[in-house]
């Protein structure tokens, strides 16, 4: 008979580690949850996965009309559609990680009371499915980009820049920010229902505080410092700079965002793990 591992179940005190081994052991579950969410979301819709692309596209068009045409907020000389779309796709990835994870405990209460698996699998799966959506949207952005380049070459000057190389770093940064905030929110919603309401509102408010419908350069000088304190500000600006050559790329601000992201993520995981131990008794 092979040697079997012994697990000791006892009241845990303090920090119990990330349990990377446990998450690795359940990697298939992560994959299947991503797949399940994708299938479940689009099975009932007529247009199916096309919504992946249509959602941000609709929003882009609305923004183009309201903020571009009516409010006439400048877009740094970029075609409004490309300007808004670039900001929106990176933002929706953040928002997916943030709002999608805010109700992890309440949404999975039924399962958590019946089966054990590393609870972090759910938020991680959510980040991965967000990444899928982001990739598709990014591909379509490239499509819009080419359409503009080929058919309306006079519209304005925009160029992908070498800052593109930082995109593979920007994405984990966005994911960490969203996940970190989402985990914090999940801890709060597990304790108080009220925070469910706050999540949507907070995401909305943050979006307007982030240079998506306006470039950071349009923010009055005296407020720009405060606007840059939002860790997503430099990320969106850098992303747009990478794709379109306009915006700002500040190494310092990105470092700042990274520090905020790491702190949010670590503290988020810490409180998430603390909550997961107790929450089943109260859900």
């Amino acid at each position: 008979m092979q040697k079997q591992s012994i697990t000791v179940l006892k009241p845990s005190a303090g920090w119990t580690g990330f349990d990377f081994a446990g998450i690795w052991q359940y990697r298939d579950l992560l994959y299947l949850l991503v797949r399940r969410d994708f299938l479940a979301q689009y099975k009932q819709t007529i247009l199916g996965p096309a919504w992946f692309v249509l959602q941000p596209l609709f929003l882009t068009v609305v923004f183009t009309l309201i903020f571009g045409k009516f409010a006439q907020i400048p877009t740094e000389g970029l075609p409004p559609l490309l300007f808004y779309n670039s900001g929106l796709i990176i933002w929706s990835y953040f928002s997916h990680c943030f709002t999608g994870n805010a109700s992890v405990f309440t949404a999975n209460a039924g399962i958590y009371q019946k089966v054990y698996y590393p609870r972090l699998i759910n938020p991680l799966a959510n980040c991965v499915s967000g990444l899928l959506g982001f990739s598709v949207q990014a591909l379509f952005f490239v499509g819009y980009f080419c359409v503009y380049k080929i058919f309306i070459p006079t519209a304005s000057h925009f160029e992908m820049t070498s800052a593109m190389l930082t995109i593979p770093l920007l994405i984990p940064l966005v994911a960490s920010l969203g996940l970190g905030m989402g985990l914090w929110m999940s801890v709060l919603t597990a304790k108080y229902r009220d925070f469910n309401q706050i999540t949507g509102f907070l995401a909305q408010a943050l979006m307007y505080a982030t240079p998506i419908i306006y470039p950071l350069s349009e923010v009055p000088e005296q407020y720009r410092f405060w606007a840059s304190l939002n860790p997503m500000a430099s990320v969106v600006e850098s992303f747009r700079f990478a794709l379109l050559g306009k915006g700002s790329f500040s190494f310092h601000l990105l470092c700042y965002s990274t520090i905020v992201a790491v702190l949010l993520l670590l503290s988020g995981i810490y409180f998430f793990k603390r909550t997961e131990r107790r929450v089943v008794d109260y859900l």
Binding site: Q4, L9, K10, L29, V115, Y117, K191
Partner: protein, 426 residues
């Protein structure tokens, strides 16, 4: 830990808080904090309904499990027996890592799979196939393991024709079968099963029991909870008897079941209002009963074939705001449920009242039971399904023999619990 042991618990305890199930809102917490800081003492808002005073730790916490010490050897199939609320599910939850013990520890050797519910994580929009994979993974299988067992699982569940149909089109029986089939093909070292077999038809239940038997024969350990004593007896060699969070007896299954029944009977001798084995919010409690015969005289026993009335008295402790419904479950002397009488069947409801008590009359136009002892479980819930008072084996109906058929002959109780009106013709 000795080589042959797979589970070893030392001073294992679990605390729960009273009346705090469910999340609070910030407003409730703030107002609680406010009254507390204003009055200096916490408000006694906790509801101790159904919890024995000896289990209380302080005014708001109680022992769901208290100081358990036990060992389980490899290959054993152990039954867990006990009344509602005795802590069976809590123990299984600790062993399957869903919740942590509050004190003490338990060592578990090898991989544990728990089936506390059938089809956990099933998504109605996904097909049977997709759900099998997700459910398998939730229970701890890898994709490859599910893949290898897939045909067996589908075969076991008997849903081959529907495997690519969304689960929402399945009958509830099919869903349960599929859920159980996945769990039955896990290959854990320890399998933990809570009362999940109560659903599903008899033939499928038998298949499940056989499957668990063969799991046990292959050297795995099984921990099994069921209200169906026959199943426990059939499946488990040994059993534990839990009572109010403690293991009060363990040993050979048949002995443990006997002990359990004796205890139940003993408790059935207490006045109903003092009965401890009850669940529910306790806003309103069954306080007494009265049997009346066909002459409307108060009696101790009822006579088979005659009309009878059972009066049930309830006391109200807290304001009732929603209509309530009463169900009575009748079990025979070996605790097999034989009948279910429910107000909902007739669309009748007990309407909220400002009185302190009320009574319900149950009229039986002809008592169609053979002689013997029958246990009646009383279950009161409200419109929303919230349990108000649930007393297992609340009282006993003693039925005396009579000339039911007017022929001077009545079949023996071993052949006929029910006496049905019937006739033969040629």
């Amino acid at each position: 830990m000795k080589e042959s042991l797979v589970i070893q618990a030392n001073n294992l305890s679990k605390k729960y808080r009273l009346g705090t199930i469910g999340m609070t809102s910030l407003r409730e917490d703030l107002s609680r904090w406010w009254t507390r800081s204003k009055n200096g003492i916490p408000k006694h808002g906790f509801d101790q309904a159904g919890i024995d005073p000896t289990r209380m730790i302080n005014d708001h916490e109680f022992w769901a499990l208290h100081d358990l010490n036990f060992e389980i050897t490899r290959g054993e199939v152990v039954g867990l027996i006990g009344a509602n609320g005795s802590g069976k599910s809590t123990l299984l939850k600790i062993l399957s890592r869903i919740t942590e013990p509050s004190e003490g520890k338990v060592k578990v050797k090898g991989k544990v799979a728990s089936l506390l519910e059938v089809g956990t994580g099933f998504h109605p929009e996904l097909t049977g196939r997709e759900n099998v994979f997700v459910n398998g993974a939730i229970l701890g299988m890898t994709r490859r393991e599910v893949d290898k067992k897939f045909d067996e699982i589908v075969d076991f569940a008997g849903v081959a024709d529907f495997i690519d149909t969304p689960i929402k089109r399945y009958s509830s029986g099919m869903t349960v079968r599929l859920g159980f089939a996945v769990a039955a093909h896990l290959e854990p070292d320890i399998l933990i099963v809570d009362e999940v077999l109560a659903v599903g038809d008899l033939r499928f239940q038998n298949r499940c029991i056989n499957q668990m038997k063969s799991i046990a024969e292959s050297g795995k350990t099984v921990l099994f909870v069921s209200h169906q004593m026959a199943t426990v007896e059939n499946l488990c060699k040994s059993a534990f008897l839990l009572n109010m969070g403690q293991i009060i007896y363990s040993g050979k299954t048949s002995d443990v079941i006997k002990k359990y029944r004796e205890d139940m009977e003993e408790s059935a001798n207490l006045p109903i209002s003092q009965r401890m084995i009850r669940e529910g919010s306790g806003k309103c409690k069954l306080s007494g009963i009265e049997f009346r015969n066909d002459q409307n005289k108060v009696v101790d026993s009822l006579i088979s074939g005659k009309s009878a009335t059972i009066k049930l008295f309830f006391d109200i402790y807290e304001e009732i705001t929603a209509p309530m419904s009463l169900s009575l479950g009748i079990s025979n002397s070996t605790h097999v449920r034989i009948a279910h009488l429910c107000m909902k069947t007739f669309g009748k409801w007990i309407l909220p009242t400002s009185q302190k008590s009320f009574q319900v009359n149950l009229s039986l136009s002809k008592l169609e039971l053979n002689q013997g002892k029958y246990y009646v479980t009383s279950f009161l819930d409200d419109e929303s399904g919230q349990i108000i008072d649930w007393v297992t084996d609340a009282f006993v109906i003693n039925v005396l023999q009579s000339d039911f058929y007017g022929t001077g002959m009545v079949p023996p109780t071993s052949q006929s619990i029910f006496l049905m009106d019937h006739s033969f013709s040629f």
